[in-house]
Symmetry: C2
Subunit: 466 residues, 2 copies
């Protein structure tokens, strides 16, 4: 407190001596944002509650409802918030069921049968195997293309094992994830097309360890659903080596099931703009997570980043020119029900989102922001981005083309700027969709720096437009 | 292997079709450096051995000798190395002794005596308290200046408690460390000047936790040495609160001692340059660490970064134009014996270090490099740095003014460029000089990225000079 008072005094003395340029004021306010967030940020306390106290927040689960209620009550009580509400959305309700079982079975040279259980997780939206499980010979492939080449004669009645790793040579781990994840999302459908009984996926991570990574998979409309599970990278490596020596069968048992859709909610808190209330600047993350772990980096961090923006603007007594809206989306992981419902309601209300920033890449040290927009408007946006550099550069932050976010994607037709927050991505896929995505693996300084970076960009857009 | 073969084939086909510019070749080789290091780097195995198997490597200790022998034998066997040697240097031999004890003693309102032990570590080079310990009333100060203001009448016979925290508002944690560390380095001497019996230092970290952080302290020539220990930030906060309520005494007992200096060694491995053998490019870290923890980030990471440079150039069959020398310095932490001996021998041999790169900021995601040089030559260097940008930019690496390294500092008179490797610094001081600085807290991808970044800069300097 003493230091804050000195700062105000110092500011007063300085202000009465010099006349401050707009640039100086802007830089000074951003420093205030950083100072407040680094020293007094509460995002880590919120994240601890979301991740440790509530835990995994699978769409449609009781924990997801608890997270809605908790974040709503936290946001509602921040004085600067003019309006907070819960926005209903229909979402799928998938349940993992009992602990899934994946066993490999093979015979050694002396014709003895060996059985070994692998570390596995059912993928989101998968069906169950039925009470007797599914058993079949394993066919290893390294992508959807190689599966196509094998065709029905090599696949029918078997279990497909997708084993193309995330490319460790990629510096941008997000790109490496993008290259590998088609196996997880579409693998089961494609295998079923050729008559496979089930599919196993190498976990999508560059790390070699024993943690299976879940994540969404989808069934194409015209195929028979088959069970789809991920195994750890260590087990994938061992299985691959074994397949070079002998024939291996897999036994899969899980009772995952998709239930009827249910109503859930996005959580929204808004500060009304004083000059341009119809220009909305959205900041958001997604409230749902996978059921394993605590959804700390994915995407508790994004939610508390967005909440911290509101808390920081409140603490600094900022009066935004534009409407600033914190949106915690439901169901990003396995359906995007919240994002779609939000855009639909927004369009129906004739709203315009000047900018929407999503944080959904973890709570790591910020590197910058990447943006995209409807082709009609992107060029003029791009030619103007450099005006932000002066204020972002001192914090080692870039703002460049090439990003957005899943939840804000449906807002594209409103022709505003869609922005993805980009923290350092080297550790993200160590935790992503695993039981290790817990608060303990989040560094508080890095988390707070992320919130400060996002708040700064929102402040700059609010002050100057795009 | 299959992929490597395809790559060579692809390269061959491309090369026979196009003619490649020098820029293309340079960019391609840097990509090779990254690919090799990310996929096949062995720096993490070396680091695991140094940190987990050998452990803390206090200067003068048996572990330090083991580390010399291990890294020497690992470097010696890399085929590209023309010469490897151990360079003798005199170093101090300080010993922590038995587990140190810091207790606080105070009376409550009912005059009952309470005693509580704090989490503490003797600071490097401190003397012991003597077998009976040292007891005195605690005087809290927030820096050397406030101590001076209190003067002898308030300090004599007491124990000074330095409690100025690292400023959490600083984005650059290295700068915040620099601002706070004078208390640790000079605190005991300054307190002794006013007759204090001992000094306690708030651990130099932004984290509030129970881990004490050790680190070097030095005695001024003309003062009576007194015991100097660090306490954890949690305990510092509790003690500070207690001091607002009542008088508190401390009891300090440690039997640390400085023994006679001993001979130790720097470890050096060299690849002779083919065109300019007299222009040396040095890459190094320091082999010694504190005795608590495993010296993983500080500075096992820097050592294995430097070793990886040699291993990667070997794997890529690179023939350097200039002499590339990997130097693992001894005794950075409490004396700089290795760095001084290296520079002295180098000067005696009439050597010239065109550039020296030190990695001593941990094994985190690389951000770039910061450099300095003798004033006579720095300006011309600075005006040329931009030529590196084209190749470093794609890897999000900067090269800017303002850095160097403790061990390479004594080379300044040779008028080459001194360069500090700058990884992300947000987590460094969570582990720095503590029992938590172990291999488990190093991320392998981040470590390898650091080695790739350093190798790339060395390659660029080797190719083009400065």
């Amino acid at each position: 407190m003493i230091r804050a008072r000195y700062l105000i005094l110092f500011t007063f003395v300085i202000c009465s001596t010099f006349s401050w340029s707009q640039e100086d004021k802007t830089a000074f306010f951003i420093k205030d944002i950083y100072n407040y967030t680094l020293e007094n940020g509460q995002c880590d306390q919120w994240l601890s509650y979301l991740s440790d106290t509530i835990g995994g927040r699978l769409t449609g689960s009781k924990n997801a409802t608890k997270a809605v209620d908790y974040t709503f009550s936290e946001l509602e009580k921040i004085p600067i918030v003019d309006r907070a509400w819960q926005q209903a959305c229909m979402v799928p309700k998938w349940e993992r069921g009992d602990k899934e079982i994946v066993k490999v079975e093979y015979k050694n040279k002396d014709n003895q049968l060996f059985t070994e259980e692998l570390a596995s997780l059912a993928l989101g939206n998968t069906i169950g195997s039925g009470p007797n499980g599914v058993r079949g010979q394993i066919v290893e492939v390294f992508g959807l293309d190689t599966l196509d080449k094998l065709g029905r004669e090599n696949i029918e009645g078997k279990i497909v094992f997708y084993n193309r790793p995330m490319n460790p040579q990629r510096i941008n781990t997000g790109h490496a994830y993008g290259e590998a994840v088609d196996q997880r999302v579409h693998g089961a459908s494609r295998a079923s097309k050729y008559g496979a009984k089930g599919s196993l996926i190498r976990s999508v991570t560059t790390l070699n360890d024993d943690l299976p990574h879940t994540g969404v998979q989808t069934y194409a409309a015209d195929i028979k659903p088959i069970p789809s599970l991920a195994i750890s990278t260590n087990d994938a490596n061992k299985l691959s080596a074994l397949l070079k020596e002998t024939t291996v069968s897999a036994f899969i048992k899980n009772n995952s099931q998709m239930k009827d859709s249910v109503i859930s909610h996005n959580v929204i808190a808004e500060i009304k703009g004083s000059e341009f209330p119809d220009e909305i600047i959205l900041v958001g993350g997604h409230l749902d997570s996978w059921d394993v772990g605590g959804g700390a980096h994915d995407d508790g961090a994004g939610c508390v980043h967005a909440m911290q923006v509101i808390a920081t603007l409140n603490a600094l007594r900022y009066k935004p020119k534009r409407t600033i809206r914190c949106v915690l989306f439901m169901n990003e992981e396995n359906g995007l029900g919240g994002g779609k419902a939000y855009a639909k309601a927004s369009n129906a209300n004739g709203e315009f989102h000047l900018a929407a920033i999503e944080s959904d890449s973890g709570g790591f040290t910020p590197r910058g922001f990447a943006c995209s927009a409807h082709p009609d408007v992107f060029k003029p946006f791009l030619s103007n981005l450099q005006k932000f550099d002066e204020f972002l550069d001192p914090y080692d932050l870039y703002l460049k083309a090439g990003g957005g976010g899943a939840d804000i994607g449906p807002l594209k037709s409103q022709k505003g700027l869609l922005i993805g927050f980009k923290p350092d991505g080297q550790r993200y896929f160590d935790f992503h969709h695993t039981s290790a995505d817990v608060f303990e693996n989040v560094n508080v300084r890095e988390l707070r720096l992320g919130a400060a970076a996002i708040t700064s960009l929102i402040y700059l857009i609010d002050q100057n437009g795009l």
